[in-house]
Structures are given as structure tokens and as C-alpha cells.
Symmetry: C2
Subunit: 338 residues, 2 copies
């Protein structure tokens, strides 16, 4: 297929390439009839601007990067999908870059994508959105970025959140309303700040109900299914068995659920279990797991919108670019009256 260039369009429409460029980019200063002619010719020839030439001359790449720690997780898939759809909406493209901080020289990989690809912006997913060194690399390269669920509100960048604290609080209140008093809590890894916020919400709700948190029933996992299995064992071995387990994410809740089944503890009759995330397998389990749906795709889409907003490039510090999106409690079969 011979490539159609802007010159071809210009020639056929009887105008200069520059005018065609104006029409393509929706700029002012083109007479309506000429604009129409050009648009017709563009359609006729099925012309598509060459993204590389455009980037080279305009110093915009129409490319956004999604930087993510573990691109295989279900979480990553949701974030990516949300970003992808919104990019398409905006005529941008998305480049996914895994950031494996275990590997020596990861910094260079990041720098290479930034300087080689001239990304117009980047989306940083948790937990790497809290990595000061990484943020520094972006700042040095002058690439604007939006953080998803960071620990601290960033000063000079966009951010999109959900209210982990409030959500965990609601979940705890729900368990309390079911009559549970001995509610165990499984924390996530310390590196994930969202985990800490969820714990806060849990503690606050317990305190509000006038209940003390049993620190023996507060265990730290690593967000993996396996750690849920193991910590579930520990919790069920406790002298005062909890009547409910609130895990910081669904994978660990699933692990705890399986442990309960193995040991013949009926869920939800003898033990309620709830998680956080609403991953696909929380629906596939039996009973299905009560959880909190994070607006992952929506947060990613919002991040894209922020990045492509010209106002953002002018003033990244504008608080209008720090958004909080709504979560939802998903009540399912794994929780019941105490």
C-alpha cells in the first residue's frame, strides 16, 4: 500500500500542506469551505498523518506510558484496559512498560523509554507511584505524570485516588452490623500504602464502635494467595477464633477461604470472610467473596484525561488534577451474621 502523505492531500485539494495540517489539527484560520474540501480529500484518500513525523516536528508524541510493577496481575489488566480505551477515545496510544525494581539497571530502562520515546505523559500505578527515585527520573526528564493511589498527595503532579480508608471503614461497619466483634485483619505489604490506609479505616471503625483491636489477630501478608492460606491457618489456630476475617485484598481473602474449607470451617456460617479489590476470582470462588470494588479502570481513564488536558501541562500543581473516585461495596456470600 503506497503511503498517502500530507502533500498528496494538499495537491489534490489545491492548497498548501500547512493548510491541510491546520485542518487536521482543528486549528483556526481556515475558511469553512476550504476546511470542508480538505476534509473530503482526507476521507477520499484515506489519509492518516504519520505519527513519527508529527512527533518529530511538534515535540508531542501522542504516546502515553503506563508504568507498572507487575503487569500480569488482574489489577494491572483492569488499569491497563481503562487506560487503553480512553487513549483510543483521545487518539493517543499507550505503551506499557514494566518496571522491575529487582533488576539492576531498571532506572536506565525507564530513562530510555522517556528519552527515546518522548512520552507525552506517564501513568504510574501502585506501588511504584510511591518510589521517590522513580518520580525523580520523570521529573528530570520533564515528563508529566499522574499517580494512581499514591501514599501522599503529590505536590507537582496529577493523582487519582479512591478513598481506601473510608471503604475499609464501611466494610468494617458492615461486619459489625452483622454482629461480629472478633474481626481479624490481614494487612498487605508495607510497601503498598493503600494497605496502610485500609488498616486505618478498619481501626477507626472499630474504635468508633468502642471495640479494641486484638493485635494478635492483625497479621501481615504480601497480597498473595499463598500468604492468605498461611495466615488463615494462624488465625484459625488462635485461642479466641475470630468470627470474621477482613483481608486487605481478595487474593489473600481467597487463601483464607480455602484454608477454612480445608479445615471444615463453614463460610459464612462459622466464619465470615471479606476482601478488597473485586478481582475476577473473587466471583469464581464458592461462596463468592464480599469485597470492595475499586474503580481501577475509571481511575486509569481519568489519568489519561488529565494527561491529555493541555491545562495540565501548563500547571501540574492545580488541585483540579487530583481526583477522588467512588468505590462500591459488593456484598456476596462469604459474609453473614455472626
Amino acid at each position: 500500500m503506497k503511503t498517502v502523505t500530507i502533500k498528496d492531500v494538499a495537491a489534490r485539494a489545491g492548497v498548501s500542506p500547512k493548510t491541510v495540517s491546520r485542518v487536521i489539527n482543528g486549528e483556526d484560520h481556515v475558511r469553512p469551505e476550504i476546511r470542508e474540501t480538505v476534509q473530503r480529500v482526507v476521507a477520499e484518500l484515506n489519509y492518516r498523518p504519520n505519527a513519527f513525523a508529527r512527533s518529530l516536528s511538534s515535540s508531542r508524541s501522542y504516546l502515553l506510558g503506563l508504568f507498572i510493577d507487575d503487569p500480569v496481575s488482574g489489577y494491572a489488566a483492569e488499569v491497563q484496559h481503562g487506560a487503553l480505551l480512553q487513549c483510543r477515545e483521545r487518539s493517543y496510544h499507550l505503551v506499557v512498560e514494566p518496571v522491575d525494581r529487582q533488576r539492576a539497571g531498571w532506572q536506565d530502562h525507564v530513562r530510555a523509554s522517556l528519552s527515546g520515546l518522548r512520552l507525552d505523559g506517564a501513568i504510574l500505578a501502585p506501588p511504584i507511584c510511591d518510589d521517590a527515585e522513580l518520580l525523580g527520573i520523570f521529573a528530570d526528564a520533564g515528563v508529566p505524570y499522574v499517580l494512581i493511589g499514591p501514599s501522599y498527595p503529590p505536590r507537582d503532579s496529577g493523582a487519582v485516588w479512591m478513598d481506601d480508608r473510608a471503604a475499609a471503614g464501611e466494610m468494617t461497619e458492615y461486619l459489625l452490623s452483622l454482629g461480629h466483634r472478633r474481626i481479624a485483619f490481614i494487612q498487605g505489604p508495607e510497601s503498598h500504602s493503600a494497605s496502610a490506609r485500609r488498616e486505618e479505616g478498619y481501626r477507626a471503625a472499630m474504635k468508633a464502635a468502642g471495640l479494641a483491636v486484638n493485635e494478635d489477630a492483625m497479621l501481615r501478608g504480601d497480597f498473595s494467595f499463598r500468604s492468605g492460606l498461611e495466615l488463615g491457618e494462624l488465625l484459625l489456630d488462635l485461642p479466641e477464633t475470630p468470627t470474621a476475617i477482613f483481608a486487605c485484598n481478595d487474593d489473600m481473602a481467597l487463601g483464607a477461604l480455602i484454608t477454612a474449607m480445608k479445615r471444615g470451617v463453614a463460610v459464612p456460617d462459622a466464619l465470615s470472610i471479606c476482601g478488597f479489590d473485586d478481582v475476577a476470582s473473587s466471583r469464581a470462588a464458592w461462596p463468592q467473596i464480599t469485597t470492595i470494588r475499586q474503580p481501577n479502570a475509571e481511575m486509569a481513564a481519568a489519568a489519561v484525561d488529565i494527561l491529555v488536558d493541555p491545562a495540565f501541562r501548563k500547571d501540574c500543581a492545580d488541585p483540579a488534577f487530583r481526583l477522588m473516585l467512588a468505590h462500591a461495596m459488593i456484598l456476596r456470600g462469604s459474609t453473614g451474621p455472626a
Copy 2:
């Protein structure tokens, strides 16, 4: 951060930009000592070639596209991860493009990525790798592509497979060896050719064992968890209850497993269940599901290797670019003696 260009490097090394270009691209005809000097300067200045300028002049984009139907699935995540890592290895980048054929005008979206981005190659995941119209778009645009697990061996493109037929045969033989005779089979959607190959393998193994397939215990699902639930009901309602269910993918196997648990049918004592894919939740279930691991990441990585191989661009029809990778049977708790 001021951008370092090839001219800066050239000036500092006391050579022409062209020579620097030669060094960067590992071309011949550069005296060793000059090559070394240039490399030193490149490192000193931390120079990275501008990908856009490079693509514009060389008509290579160093960009590969991954075209996929449902980018949120666990399957997609594995494929993407494999492709991503290999791209990084090869200094390419990966652009993920969802192809939603439900949506009007999807063809234009695909064309736009091809002509706008000048992709050096594309990876087509199932089931869209079997879409003749889609393949035509790539052919028209002159973008070489590699198919993952297509129905038919392509004539003029690369392809990467696993042997679905043999794998399903092995699984069936395993069930037979456990003493099962009434083995139900849950098919996938007709649009997924892999499903048909798996069914073939099952039928062949049954025939080889001298057993007739009970067509009443052969039901078609749509690869979803829900369809596994429903078809599980139907199978357990059969007058001659099967002693084993072989589902065409793990999600449906999980559905059948949940149905069995709901109805109090013990797995694997009263009923064996096995799936295909080895998705994450097949490990999260209880009992864990016996399944077949597809080399998804490996297939994607192999696809990348094929696409970046200069020999491939010269002769896409070379049979060396049609690879079959090995699968693995994963024996877990959901299967046992009849």
C-alpha cells in the same frame, strides 16, 4: 533536561553524525578505535537516539503491536507479559491495541494504528487471529504479523502454536488411566478454533480406548465461569452421571466445580474435574484444578523474536517461522480415581 542529539555526540567525538549512527546501529565500516571513542562519548553524554527521528528516516518504528480481543483476561495478561519482556530484550516497544469487533468501525481503528504508527510487526492473539477480514487489513498495510494459535497454518505469515489436540488427548488418557469411563466434555465457543482441536484430541483418545463418546454429555459453553456453572447443572442432571468432566478451559471447569460443591458432590471422590489453561484462579480454587499449562508467555516471546528477525521480513513464508511450543500437564487435586 536538555536533549542530547547525535550531533552533540558527533561534535564531542570529533566525527560526523553518520559515523555515530553507524556505531549506534552496530554497522560495519568503523575503525575499532573510533567505535570505542564514540561509545565512550555516548555513555558520557547519556545519549539516547530519538525513536521518532529514527523511524521517520529509516522506516522502521521499533514498535510492535499486540492486537487482542479481550485485554482484561488473565490469558491476555500472560501473553502481553511475555511479549513485553522480549520486546525489552530486543530494544523494541510494545503497543497494545484492543480489537473490539462488536463495535462499528473497528476496522478503521486498526488501520489507523497501522498507518499512523508504522508498526514493524504485529502479534495477533486468538480468537482474532482467525479473522480473515482483519488479516486482510494487515496484508493491505504491508505489516508482517505472527499469529498465536490460529485455526489453520497461515501461508504468508508467522505463527506460534501449542498442540491443543495432543494435550487434550493426554488429559483424556490420564482420566482413562484413573479408571474413568463416563467422561463429559464441555466445549468452548465455536469461534475459538483451539476449542475444536481440544475436542478432537478428546474424541481421538476415547476412540483409541475403544469407548464411544456420549453426545448427551458433550455441551457447548462460551468459556465463561457462568456457562460452567450452568452446564455443570445439566451434566449432573444426566440420567447416567459422568464420573469426570473435562472442560475446555479453566473458567468453565471452575464453574462446574462450584456447581458440584453446591450440590454436595464431592470432588474428586465422586467427580473428577479438569480444565485447560492454568489460569491463576485454577490454583486459587479448592481443590485446585488439574489442567494444562499453555506456554502463553513463551509463545508471545517467540512471536516477538520472529517479528524482529530480519530474515522474517524477507521471507514470511519460510516454515522456520511456524513454531510449536511444548505444553505441560498440571496434575492437581480436582482429579482422582473413578
